[in-house]
């Protein structure tokens, strides 16, 4: 393995050498900004998870249970809104993207470091406003559909403003990444030598930049509706509630690819490293990211099949929806082809990557059930939908995120994780996850509607199984968080390149020095040439 690379800082603490609050809060270093995003989003992952546990607890009994129906509405709105807007959308792009894009393209920093820092503070300001709006807790669900959201007693106006700020931060981050990838690549790094994580992030950024302004406008209009009664979404005034749904999903559908594309990028990095094989079909994976981003803009209507949209539109949206499966399938086949006859080693990043592929295939294959017009009418707004998007969002994105955290932990902290604890956590998470969410496929198929606080007693057994599963899942998360915390202080010192990877971020010290590289590297090969003489594992 190619370790023993000299640390540029000389202190062994690299970019972490400086301490104190100010050295973080005003740092222009993309790595520190990435770490701040990481802590912030991780915090909301845990808070959102706590609400999920409360939800499951409430649903163990078919009747009123330990909280009122009103409080239940607040729980699931907070679980959804926090997880979507404050965790899963920013988690990989803002945290890992910020940390690793400049390093992987071989740059000292992003193109606009000040804008980057401003983005973080706008994000934080947005969060403060969102929290302030919870004085009168949200009960609209995370989709804020009008007309209810225009009339709800909750502080929707304030929340709109908070999410507008969060969106603005997302736009600035995406913009920064696109320009960084265009202008800051190291000499010799052509587009076809870029790591696949960068390709994934590039596609992600395009969506962030082009879709987020539309949700920003939607929030402005929702606020105007509540403040002035402008009537855009109110049929009594000649407006159209469907317009809100169109605007909402024009953003929120593409944004599910903001959630998944970076995770797919991470998986594309990890699979070849731990199979010690060149990635199969590099160009197909790179272009399929762009294809998914593009197709993602054309399919938002599939969220509205039963909302009163014209049936011609529904058929077209159904057809277009299937087109997303093609580039997604291309990726999955390429990962599996890379694994084929590789010399696979099962370190924790690889475990999570394989869990990603397994769970994401289940999530992906249940997509067509919902994308087909006929089955959708049966399954719409049932637990089948909940199970489907948890398999893609949590089984996909969160597993990809965890794979990335385990993969890059040594680089970010200069410490190794405990493999033993990581494996135990992975097993608990895998079991807990499937018990919780596979049960929901069955619940949904049997007709249990989502979002209901109370339900017919025949569904109770299934709900109890799902709740018990959620405890196992939570136990896994706790073990994982314990592993991160313990290793941060007591982990073994990490070498520069513990996995023998070939991408540029590993070709410097762990943790990296302030400017990433003493000398900007010149790139002569693509980063997946495993097995060739002199390449990484020689």
């Amino acid at each position: 393995m190619a370790d023993g690379i000299s640390g540029a800082s000389g202190t062994g603490r690299g970019y972490l050498a400086e301490t104190g609050l100010r050295s973080w809060a005003f740092s222009l270093d993309h790595k520190r900004i990435g770490v701040m995003y990481l802590y912030t989003t991780m915090f909301f992952f845990l808070v959102g998870g706590l609400f999920a546990e409360l939800l499951r607890l409430k649903l163990m009994t078919p009747g009123p249970g330990f909280v009122s129906d009103k409080t239940y509405n607040v729980f699931f709105t907070l679980h959804g809104a926090l997880m979507i807007f404050l965790f899963i959308i920013p988690a990989i792009p803002s945290a890992l993207g910020n940390f690793f894009i400049p390093m992987m393209v071989g740059a000292h920093d992003v193109a606009f470091p000040r804008l980057n820092l401003a983005g973080y503070w706008i994000f934080l300001a947005g969060i403060v406003v969102v929290i302030a709006s919870l004085v009168r807790p949200m009960d609209t669900g995370w989709t804020f559909y009008t007309p209810y959201s225009a009339k709800s007693g909750a502080a929707v106006t304030l929340l709109s403003f908070g999410l507008f700020l969060v969106g603005m931060s997302s736009i600035l981050t995406g913009l920064n990444f696109i320009i960084t990838i265009h202008t800051q690549r190291a000499p010799g790094m052509t587009w076809s030598r870029m790591p696949l994580f960068i390709w994934g992030m590039y596609a992600t950024s395009v969506i962030q930049v082009l879709a987020t302004p539309v949700i920003g406008m939607t929030f402005i209009l929702l606020a105007a509706e509540r403040l002035f009664g402008v009537g855009f979404f109110d049929p009594a005034k000649g407006g159209d509630p469907l317009l809100f749904q169109h605007f909402f999903w024009f953003y929120s559908h593409p944004v599910v690819y903001v959630m998944i594309l970076p995770a797919m990028g991470i998986i594309s990095e990890i699979i070849p490293v731990f199979s010690r094989k060149p990635i199969f079909g590099y160009k197909a994976i790179a272009y399929s990211s762009m294809a998914i981003a593009l197709a993602g803009f054309l399919v938002w209507g599939h969220h509205m099949f039963v909302s009163g949209m014209s049936s011609v539109a529904a058929v077209i949206f159904s057809l277009l929806t299937f087109s997303v499966a093609v580039p997604t399938g291309v990726k999955v086949f390429n990962w599996i082809a890379t694994l084929y006859r590789g010399s696979i080693s099962f370190e924790s990043p690889m475990l999570y990557a394989l869990m990603f592929i397994f769970l994401f295939i289940i999530g992906g294959l249940t997509g067509p059930f919902l994308g087909s017009l006929g089955t959708n009418v049966q399954l719409h707004d049932t637990y089948f939908v909940v199970a489907h998007f948890h398999y893609t969002m949590m089984g996909g994105t969160v597993m990809g995120w965890l794979a990335g955290l385990h993969y890059w932990f040594p680089k970010m902290t200069g410490r190794m994780l405990s493999e033993k604890l990581a494996r135990r956590a992975a097993v608990l998470i895998l079991i807990g996850f499937n018990v919780t969410f596979f049960t929901m496929f069955i619940l949904g198929y049997k007709g249990m509607p989502r979002r209901w606080a109370e339900y017919p007693v025949q569904y109770q057994t299934m709900h109890i199984i799902a709740t018990v599963g959620s405890w196992v899942l939570a136990a896994g998360i706790i073990v994982m968080v314990w592993n991160f915390t313990r290793s941060l202080y007591r982990g073994e010192a990490a070498p520069g390149n513990p996995w023998g990877a070939l991408t540029l971020e590993w070709q410097t010290a762990s943790p990296p020095p302030v400017e990433n590289f003493e000398v900007i590297p010149t790139v002569t090969e693509w980063p997946y040439s495993f097995g060739r003489k002199g390449a990484g594992d020689a």
Binding site: F112, P113, L175, P213, V230, F247, V519
Partner: protein
């Protein structure tokens, strides 16, 4: 291979080319932000063309036209300021930035007069869909003007401190592109709102 120029070099990665790319991409996001409103305009006008016809007749065309002239002039002064600093004429830059600020403030002043006329006639956002669109669109545009004025004030301050010269004036150029964009949005808003009656 590139030599490392110290910590400073690390955090000032972008040159003028990078900044130009950045602002164009930002303007693309602005197109989409306003795009939502233009979509709403299209939908609602198709549903009820008579309402839009009638509403348009209630707007003050003279003031709207005056504002169009004011805004186009301000775009000219921005362009002249950029031309001046490209030749290193810092004094001329300050003059033109000052003129731009005046014209921009004038635009907001005229807009305020129009708004007060509407309020006096009890025309509010929410009166009907035309006025809702009119107020939301022009208010969002006015907000962009106000943001531009803040930017130009900052530039004037930097110019006074002698930060710009013939070799370095990227912020002026970038702010100019933003201003031209805001100008172009108005060029669409004016006929769509004022001249369809």
């Amino acid at each position: 291979m590139h030599e490392l120029g110290g910590a400073e070099a690390a955090h000032t990665a972008g040159g003028p080319e990078t900044a130009r790319l950045g602002i164009w991409l930002f303007l693309a996001t602005e197109v989409l932000l306003f795009g939502g409103l233009f979509t709403a305009y299209t939908v609602f006008r198709m549903q009820d063309p008579a309402l839009f016809h009638a509403g348009s007749l209630k707007l003050n065309r003279m003031l709207g036209a005056a504002n169009t002239v004011v805004l186009i002039c301000s775009s000219l002064t921005v362009a002249l300021g950029l031309a001046a600093i490209r030749e290193g004429k810092i004094r001329m830059l300050k003059v033109f930035l000052g003129l731009t600020l005046l014209l921009g403030a004038g635009f907001l002043g005229i807009k305020a007069i129009e708004y007060s006329e509407h309020f006096a006639r009890r025309e509010f956002p929410g009166t009907d869909l035309f006025f809702s669109l009119y107020f939301v669109m022009t208010a969002l545009h006015a907000f962009h003007i106000a943001a531009g004025l803040a930017v130009f004030s900052g530039l004037l301050w930097l110019a006074a401190k002698g930060k710009f010269d013939a070799g370095y004036h990227t912020p002026v150029e970038v702010a100019g592109l933003y201003w031209h964009f805001v100008d172009v949005v108005w060029i669409y808003l004016f006929p769509l709102l004022y001249l369809i009656g």
